[in-house]
Symmetry: C2
Subunit: 139 residues, 2 copies
Amino acid sequence: MKHDLKAKNILKSAMLYCTKPRNDILKVLIVAKTPLTQKQITEKLGKNQHNKTTIYRTLRTLAKKDLVHKAYIHKKASHFELAENCGKTRCHPHFTCSNCGKTICLTDISMPLIKGLKKGFVLQRQKLQLLGLCPDCSS
Amino acid sequence: MKHDLKAKNILKSAMLYCTKPRNDILKVLIVAKTPLTQKQITEKLGKNQHNKTTIYRTLRTLAKKDLVHKAYIHKKASHFELAENCGKTRCHPHFTCSNCGKTICLTDISMPLIKGLKKGFVLQRQKLQLLGLCPDCSS
DNA sequence: TATAATTTGCAACTTAGTTGCAATTTAAAA
DNA sequence: TTTTAAATTGCAACTAAGTTGCAAATTATA
Ligand SMILES: [Zn+2]
Ligand SMILES: [Zn+2]
Ligand SMILES: [Zn+2]
Ligand SMILES: [Zn+2]
């Protein structure tokens, strides 16, 4: 149960109550390869079902501690992922296929931080969203 | 009625029926300084009210012709703007204040196009979203 | 003016996400 | 271990953005 331990540690380090819903949801996010919606998390929870309110609240709690990011919104649904592949103020880019809807995390491509922000602006997070055709749909 | 003429020309160039709803909605977008939601467009329409379905359909029609962009989503609501301040595949960045919710169009700041996309990916549009504190909220 | 094609308005619907509250669970003290 | 206070959960009811089907109205063209 390597992921179970990791989930527990994440919660402990963030000084959060270690509950079964949080643990289960974190484990789903740990093994996920792309950001997930509440619905997708519910599907992946399998027999460890939890109320959708609990899932939304857990995601918000984890996001407040910057452990989870709302990566992007697609078809009205927010997609969440662990923050571990993002920098302090910069997230990795996400490429969404306008044909099939699939999204790919570009964890190996980085964009420079924006330059030239006028005085007074404090940047907390930079997100890059790419739309286009994925390899499957462009051939 | 300079804006009226501009709206008419936009519709004509795109080979779209020139109807009163489309004209009115376009005029609102022409004078807007930031992206607007359907609700905000309705407010700015004043006495030229149109059904919300019509507004959504008009926005979709204009977006299909790349005259309008869904710039970003904030608090579950899509925000639309004219595409005229965006490049062919690159939109100008948007800075949203996490404190007051205000959004600023950074039309004078440009980010390089992403490099290093793997073979097969076809980029259609690049969007940059910035979150942080605006000058009013950072002092 | 007549005609065909397109667009509009309405009402009903879908669905992501939120809220209040009572019941349950957690963590830490006794 | 038992007790206790604080935090979390589940439920049902709700909010609100956006969509759909269809009849009526409008547009462009001849
Ligand atoms: Zn695709
Ligand atoms: Zn990602
Ligand atoms: Zn602000
Ligand atoms: Zn803008």
